[in-house]
Structures are given as structure tokens and as C-alpha cells.
Symmetry: C2
Subunit: 193 residues, 2 copies
């Protein structure tokens, strides 16, 4: 069955600085109509930057929606026309004061498909070098370094709760494990085992 | 430094059926003021239900915000006063037609802390039994079963993009691996190895 919902009428109900909220009338697969309330968002990028000692760069900032500080990977929204890769590199530089010339994509994240079209592009950066933070005037961010295995345990025990941070860390960890297993295999082969 | 932002004035800018959007004036740690646009959401629950053959129950539904079908774990928002555990069990029953009496929490997820206060409570359910779907009139959901390891690969290769589904699956997988390693250890001990 084709589950496509077709737009009948769209109405912008809030035109904010960050959020653009729409109430759309749609037709359902059974011919009935329904309302969809959604947030249109420019999308974002986040980056798990791991140094040679396997420490990951985090930012801790006050998140007004939750009324508390939240530990997250460096991230931010895409600027107009900006490629996700460059947004990730920019946020890593601005928020964490780090630069990496070895960054690979870790896939996309749909934060809450029921009501937002936001896509977060995840990246893994190797061996970042310090270059100094450059925050906006109204940005207050503390940088923390946490050993990858400790960070993964903080995901598993519930201390890290941000969605992109949980997903990106676990994917980065599984990829690092895979790469290190491959390396061991190759070393074994070279030694003729 | 205390990074707390204090509410100066709150204004509801959209009072929808699902979404409640606020534009709040807040005071920043440096004394300046700023605007926060946020979505207030009742929260949700999702569940990774794994049967004895290590197959996971998924739902595929059209997500209007993305204009396409998205593969997700059974999930839904909390009803007024509903405990997350019961919401997860209810959604598993309604969306996937499954009941489990062995369900454990896998932590919380903040989908997009920059603009929503939604919390998704994740659960892992063992050995679910079929009981028949009971969808709302305007819900169109296809149920799919996918082998856990295949599903994890679909997360790693980018085929599964929903945030709660990625996080909950990877956590479930790592927990299952840990439990199975523990079981092997105990068997080894019993055999006096």
C-alpha cells in the first residue's frame, strides 16, 4: 500500500528567528484528511572528534528547553547554503576550538520525525589540533575531554542523553573497534601467523 | 561559571493539537537578554522488542515532515499522566501487535535540545507475543521484522536514520552482546574451565 500523504493546504503558524512552524492539511491513504503540525528546520551537523589518546571533545551548555546543562558533541545548525561537512568543521572550530583535516561522515539522524524535518549530519574527526574557541557573543560553552570508552559507558548508563551525541558516539566507537580489529588482522598476516 | 538562563517573559506563539510553541525572553549568564524559541512536548516512549530468534519488530510509516516512509521502532507520545513504561507497552501492542512481560529501560533521549523539551524513554522488550495491531483510524503502519545484526548494520550503513531507533538499537545490541558474553563466562565456570 502507498502510504503517501498529500498536501492539501499549508499555513505558516509561526515565523520565528529559528523555528518555522506549519499547520498543513493533508489527505491520508484512505482518502480522509488530517492535520500535520511540523517544524521546518535548516538542519545541522555534529562531530565526534577523537585524538590519538582516544579522548573525545565535548561541549557542556545550558539548554533552556530542559532547564539544565547538557553534555553534547560540538554541533550547530547549517548556515544558508552550507555543506554539512563544512558546518561540522566550523562548529568543531568555534565551539571546541579544534581543527581536523581527517573527517568522515557517520550518516544522518532524524531527531523526531513526528513533527520536525530536521536532519543532523554526523561526522567522525581524527586527531584534532587546538586552534582556540570563537563563540558567538551569546554562546556559553564549556569544553570537556572524555576518554572514548568512558563516554560510551556514559551513554549506556544514561548520563549522556542528547540524541546525536548518543548515536554518533556509539557509531564512532563501533567503527573504531572495527578498524582496530582490521589493523590487528593485518599485523597478524604480516607476521605470518 | 553558572550557565543558567533565567526566564524573563514567556509567550505562547502557537497552541496546536500536538505542538505548543513558545517564544521566551531569557537573561544570559553575562546579564544580556536573548530569545528562546522552543517546542513544549509531552514526551514519548519507544521499544526495541527482540524475539528468541533475535528478530526486532519495526514499523514503517509515512512521515509527512520528510515526505517519505521512515523505518522506526514502535513508539508514540505519552498520554496525559501516563508512565513511560506503560506508553512503551501500549505502543508495542497498538503499532506492532505485540505484548511482552519482560521489558527493561534503556535510558532517555533528548531529540534536539536546541528547541524542544521532548524526552523519549527507550525500552528493550524480550520475547514479545503476537496479540494483533490496534491502530488509530488515521494511522497507517506496516510491521517488519529484521534480524538484530542486520538492523545494526542498517544503522551503521545509514539506512536507518530515525534518532530513537538508531540509539535504542545500538544500546540493545551492546547490552545483548554483554549479556551473551556473561552467559558464556558462567558456562565456562560451571564446566570448570
Amino acid at each position: 500500500m502507498d502510504l503517501t500523504e498529500k498536501l492539501l493546504e499549508s499555513k505558516e503558524v509561526f515565523d520565528g528567528k529559528l523555528l518555522h512552524v506549519y499547520r498543513d492539511e493533508v489527505s491520508l491513504p484512505n482518502g480522509a484528511s488530517s492535520t500535520r503540525e511540523i517544524v521546518r528546520h535548516p538542519g545541522g551537523a555534529c562531530v565526534c572528534a577523537i585524538d590519538s589518546d582516544l579522548n573525545v571533545a565535548f561541549v557542556r551548555q545550558f539548554r533552556y528547553a530542559y532547564g539544565m546543562e547538557v553534555l553534547e558533541l560540538p554541533a550547530g545548525k547549517l548556515e544558508r547554503g552550507e555543506e554539512p561537512y563544512f558546518a561540522a568543521a566550523r562548529e568543531l572550530r568555534e565551539e571546541a576550538g579544534l581543527i581536523s583535516d581527517d573527517m568522515i561522515p557517520l550518516g544522518e539522524l532524524f531527531p523526531s520525525p513526528g513533527y520536525t524535518d530536521e536532519i543532523i549530519h554526523m561526522f567522525l574527526a581524527f586527531n584534532p589540533e587546538p586552534c582556540g574557541q570563537s563563540l558567538d557573543m551569546d554562546e556559553f560553552v564549556k569544553v570537556e575531554k572524555i576518554f572514548l570508552v568512558d563516554a560510551v559507558n556514559m551513554v549506556l548508563n544514561g548520563e549522556i542523553r542528547d540524541a546525536k551525541t548518543q548515536t554518533c558516539l556509539l557509531k564512532a566507537y563501533m567503527l573504531m573497534e572495527y578498524l582496530s580489529a582490521q589493523e590487528e588482522d593485518e599485523e597478524d598476516k604480516e607476521e605470518g601467523k
